[in-house]
């Protein structure tokens, strides 16, 4: 089982404080329990690395599930969302059950969420746990051991204010924890392991603050002083984004690391009476970092974000410092950052609204009395405060503000000097503001130019706001130019981002006629659209009909040429051909008639069967040959066969005839 600490987040600007109401709340160390789970499981995984057998869901899963649930619940409580008290009783029972397990010392923190009234019967187990924790704190070697044991004791002390609880060997424990520090400000987790982290530094600060609070007789000031220098060294490792946010980064991820450091610092500064002089801009930068995270996707990140902001908001929020509440009004050592935000960054010149500015703490609660000044070269004298909505208004509308984008620089001035130590603000907050106004369009005119030279041939003024027509004539060698001027309310020239000119022909859309424009005359409708994010009413002045007339004739394409390579010969009319067909037949008929007149006969047609058949075949063969009308080679093939056949048949017929005539002759 591995708990993943993902550091994914979404940046959003500008920074706006979280708007909730604040309550004094306890905070269990769910985060710590989870972290220990993670480390224990990591060790377990490291030991059984070779085996890598999958294990069923174990006690650690259940504990981690409880961690997450309580973590989430704690977040909801800070944000003032979920106030169900019945949930807490059910949780208490669950946690009490878990207490029975061997790792109960670590679960003490979770139990402290429960109301003290319910756990009166368990007082014996409490004392048992407390003594266990104390023994653990004494014997601890690792940073995390110190952390859990000391914090457990602090929470017990906080929850049960009557109990007299103190760390007997505080004087000895402090240096042993301090020994884990490094010169660059980071802390090691154990004296054997050289690995160090900023996250560990945060844990160490919390632990040491706890030790200081639990120490019966106080800690030596020299040791505390060295710790303070260590903290300032840690701040050298702070990292920065360009927009002025600060954060700490480490292997745990920026959100977890920064949250841990903030928790540590706030707890330490509250516990330490002389105070910690941390640079104010860095505190505000850390606050802005968390505000800029947006809504984290991970539950742990979410919890870290909310917890850190709660610490920054008000030291009372931090779970660890509940026991110092009686000192807080006097020893308010950690400055609370104040955030300046604007509900809307757009000023409208036409509406002449006053610019609104909001100043509050990170979780959205009220700031002390202060005034906001615009440190830009505009005529503004100061601001007025509207207590109802907790916003500030610029008292007068800036006079020389024109349409455009500006960067306003705001400065916050606290009214009471006493608050200057308690609260910290950015020196100057830069906010981009857009001023919008009505843009007027004037001086529109159309002109026809010669394309190459650019000289104006004809020019006509037109008023875009009215519905009027202008007529122009141009040929395809000339250009049509439409010019106009945009002015801002103050009379300066305005340059828009985009300008669209749409010409619509009376019959169809202009875009389809682009190629044919130079000869398509007629009425056009002009539509001019100006696009920009600043003007309030985008000018859309539909120009009505414009009539370009073309003096040249139209050119259309010729009929398509179908390519044939020679013109077909004229054939004679069908009737003529038919007449001649008839005429051709005439001589044949004449021949037949002549034959009959001559008395031609077929008397010598052989009558005997053999000769008759061969004679018939002979005539049939000739007819077949004459009827052949195929292409040459097919004909030749057929003809060769027929010819051979005909040869034999003909020979027999004619020889028979010859014999007959010879007989006749001789006879």
């Amino acid at each position: 089982m591995v708990l993943r600490f993902s550091s994914s987040f979404a940046l959003s600007s500008p920074h706006s404080p979280l708007t909730t109401d604040t309550r004094r709340l306890h905070l269990p160390s769910m985060m710590v329990g989870g972290l220990l789970r993670f480390l224990v499981s990591l060790l377990a995984v490291a030991i059984c690395n070779a085996a890598s057998i999958s294990q069923p869901i174990s006690e650690s899963h259940r504990s981690a599930a409880l961690d997450f649930a309580l973590c989430t619940w704690r977040t909801l409580e800070i944000l003032g969302i979920d106030k169900k008290s019945d949930l807490s009783s059910a949780t208490c029972e669950n946690v009490v059950k878990v207490l029975a397990s061997p790792s109960s010392a670590l679960r003490v923190n979770g139990i402290l969420k429960c109301k003290s009234g319910e756990d009166v019967p368990k007082v014996n187990s409490w004392t048992l746990s407390v003594s266990k924790l104390q023994a653990r704190a004494k014997d601890a070697k690792l940073l995390l051991d110190f952390y859990y044991s000391v914090r457990g004791l602090v929470l017990v002390k906080e929850q049960f204010s009557g109990t007299d609880l103190s760390l007997a060997d505080a004087e000895a424990i402090f240096p042993s924890i301090k020994a884990l520090s490094q010169s660059d400000g980071r802390w090691r987790y154990s004296s054997n392991n050289p690995e160090s982290s900023t996250f560990g530094a945060g844990l160490a600060f919390e632990t040491l603050a706890g030790v200081i609070s639990l120490a019966p007789s106080g800690i030596d000031q020299s040791m505390i002083q060295t710790l303070k220098t260590g903290i300032l060294k840690l701040f050298d490792r702070i990292q920065k984004y360009d927009d002025g946010t600060f954060y700490f980064d480490d292997s745990e991820g920026p959100i977890s690391t920064t949250a841990s450091v903030i928790r540590g610092l706030t707890s330490f500064s509250a516990s330490e009476s002389t105070g910690l002089n941390l640079p104010g801009d860095k505190i505000v930068g850390l606050a802005k970092f968390f505000l800029g995270v947006g809504i984290p996707g991970d539950a742990k990140d979410f919890f870290n974000q909310i917890d850190a902001l709660a610490c920054l908001e008000d030291n009372r929020q931090c779970y660890f410092l509940a026991l110092f509440m009686q000192f807080l009004f006097v020893l308010f050592q950690f400055s609370v950052p104040l955030i300046l935000s604007l509900p809307s960054t757009v000023i409208s010149l036409t509406k002449k609204e006053l610019l609104k500015v909001k100043v509050s703490t990170v979780l959205g609660s009220k700031a002390p009395a202060l005034s906001v000044k615009v440190a830009e070269a505009l005529n503004s004298k100061g601001s007025k405060f509207d207590a109802d909505s907790a916003t500030y208004f610029l008292d007068s509308f800036p006079k020389n503000l024109d349409v455009g984008k500006y960067t306003f620089v705001f400065e916050i001035l606290l009214d009471e000097s006493a608050n200057e130590k308690a609260y910290v603000t950015e020196a100057q907050t830069k906010v981009p503001i857009a001023a919008t106004g009505a843009i007027s369009i004037e001086n529109a005119e159309t002109a026809v130019l010669d394309s190459d030279v650019g000289s104006v041939e004809s020019q006509k003024k037109l008023d875009l706001t009215k519905d009027e027509a202008v007529s122009l004539s141009a040929n395809h060698l000339q250009k049509l130019r439409l010019s106009f001027q945009l002015t801002t309310p103050l009379g300066l020239v305005f340059k828009p981002h985009q300008a669209f000119l749409k010409l619509k022909h009376e019959s169809q859309d202009f875009l389809g006629l682009v190629e044919k424009l130079y000869y398509l005359s007629g009425k056009y409708e002009i539509q001019l659209t100006i696009g920009d994010d600043l003007p309030e009413r985008p000018e859309k002045a539909p120009l009505p009909p414009l009539q370009p007339t073309d003096p040249y004739s139209r050119y259309g394409p010729k009929a398509e040429i179908s390519h044939i390579f020679c013109v077909p010969e004229k054939l004679p009319a069908k009737k003529v051909s038919l007449v001649f067909l008839g005429l051709i037949v005439l001589p044949f008929i004449g021949f037949l008639i002549g034959l009959t007149r001559l008395g031609a006969n077929i008397k010598s047609f052989p009558s005997s069967i053999g000769a008759a058949t061969s004679a018939l075949l002979f005539h049939g063969g000739i007819g077949a040959v004459l009827l052949l009308y195929l292409d040459l080679f097919t004909t030749l093939k057929a003809l060769s066969l027929l010819g051979v056949f005909l040869l034999f048949v003909g020979h027999s017929t004619l020889s028979h005839l010859a014999a007959a005539s010879n007989k006749l002759k001789s006879a």
Binding site: L571, L583, L636, L646
Partner: protein, 116 residues
């Protein structure tokens, strides 16, 4: 006077030719008629071509030449069959007719292929 004599001579000539012609045997007259028929057909084809133009010239040639060819072959047959012709005394008329048929068939083959 000359004119009337010439015309009378022409008439006399014509009559003598006609009377001489009637003496020819029938088979020769048949062949003559066949020749006339072929020639007339050829003439009609030439007239048609003169009228409508010689576009498919090969067709025209084919038609005309078939007529002329068969006429020529018929004339050859007449020569060979004529009993008064001393040169072909020994040739049997059936043999001549067989040659005539064969040559006509060959001519027909050529004509048909050239017709297009």
């Amino acid at each position: 006077m000359a004119r009337s004599s010439t015309s009378k001579d022409a008439q006399d000539l014509f009559h003598s030719l006609r009377s001489a012609y009637t003496a020819t045997p029938t088979n020769l007259k048949i062949i003559d008629m066949y020749v006339c028929f072929a020639v007339f057909t050829a003439l009609i084809q030439v007239a048609y071509m003169a009228l409508v133009g010689s576009f498919p010239f090969n067709s025209f040639l084919s038609g005309v030449l078939s007529c002329i060819g068969t006429a020529v072959l018929a004339v050859c047959l007449r020569i060979q069959v004529n009993k008064e012709n001393k040169e072909f005394k020994d040739l049997a008329p059936e043999r001549a007719f067989a040659d005539f048929v064969l040559c006509n068939l060959v001519l027909h083959l050529v004509i048909i292929n050239f017709l297009g």
